[in-house]
Symmetry: C2
Subunit: 193 residues, 2 copies
DNA sequence: TGCCCTACCTAATGTCATTAGACATATTGG
DNA sequence: CCAATATGTCTAATGACATTAGGTAGGGCA
């Protein structure tokens, strides 16, 4: 016994993330993660600070991955075209990583955990950048960015939760939502220009 | 001992809802609810089917209350004006009942729990009705209703989770979001008319 | 008055998170 | 090449919680 398996924090968080995506975020328990890794639950405390610590690490990972996806989507286009791609990438990420995505949405007050807060803010930075590039005046960027984030987050959340029961195509609904948002952004640009 | 307190299912669910609003939905545990009611945890099983059953009851209550609020807001105005009031009422409800609101958002697949699914669908019925009244053609109503719900749900969720860290007014952001949605609805009406 | 049903109870079990403290393996300095 | 240390794992024990089983008091009704 007491053999070394040779894990580190990254391995633990990655296993937890995989478990969350495969079995839902409620399935992320120290016992379950330990089972996946072939070790005993208390051994996890050498790598993460209990369950809250693990969830925080998962949130950091989720924010980082989401940010990468959005930034990658943003490059290669400009302004509103870039914003469209960001929207698509947002939903794609949430669909591909349902458990991990949910971890990034845990409540975090600004003063409470600055590192996590900053990482989450950084993840949605591409949205603000694209709005700026699209010619939205600074005074309205934050409001529009919040609107876009709200719509995207709400959509993927409802989609994941089975909130769209009607037979109409969910893809088409998303397309309409993005069109609606883009029209709003374009109109702001127009009325100020 | 073994004195009757005289509770019924409604009392238990109401206590749990109050607890959720006051202390967050994670605080809703059978032990905590029992403490509030002055009884022992196992006694709750006479009224609800364990913790899952209690949460389901809370979701039903939340959907019902939200539906009432939206329906009340919808009456007294028509079309887009009605939709505006619905949006305001949605956020007001979520702010006033943060815990209960969250309970209504649990994942429910259409075939899994029809009663709850129907109650949730009924809650957002006023949105569809207002869109119809506003002259949105039937083929696009579901898509627009999904867009509106997504935006509203996402906004209140991010607001509750502290996701809006920038100093800009959250009220103003919400106002802009609603304006954006209403403009989208109006433009659909225009392009078809 | 006696019966029963309802709403409560205690006792016991299982799962999970968590802490404390032991121990084996790898690493590093002499 | 060996001793000291650091690291990653373990077992044991505790406590919170959900849940089941089975007992009991007291109100309503024949």
């Amino acid at each position: 016994m007491a053999r070394k398996v040779g894990l580190d924090r990254q391995d633990v968080v990655a296993a937890a993330a995989a478990l969350a995506d495969a079995a839902g975020s409620e399935a992320v328990t120290l016992t379950a993660v330990a089972n996946v890794l072939g070790i005993r639950p208390p051994s996890l405390y050498a790598h993460v600070s209990g369950l809250p610590g693990l969830k925080r690490e998962m949130a950091l990972l989720a924010a980082s991955r989401l940010g990468e996806s959005l930034a990658a989507a943003a490059s290669g286009a400009e302004g509103i075209a870039s914003l469209r791609r960001i929207c698509a990438a947002y939903r794609t990420f949430a669909v591909a990583h349902p458990g991990l995505y949910g971890m990034a949405q845990r409540a975090v007050a600004p003063g409470e955990d600055d590192e996590l807060y900053d990482e989450l803010a950084a993840a949605v930075w591409p949205v603000l950048a694209a709005l700026a590039e699209a010619g939205v005046p600074e005074a309205r960027r934050v409001h529009l960015a919040r609107s876009v984030r709200s719509a995207l987050h709400g959509f993927v959340q409802l989609e994941q939760g089975g909130g769209f029961g009607m037979p109409e195509s969910v893809d088409e609904s998303f397309h309409e939502l993005v069109d609606l948002l883009m029209a709003g952004v374009a109109s702001v640009r127009r009325e100020e220009g």
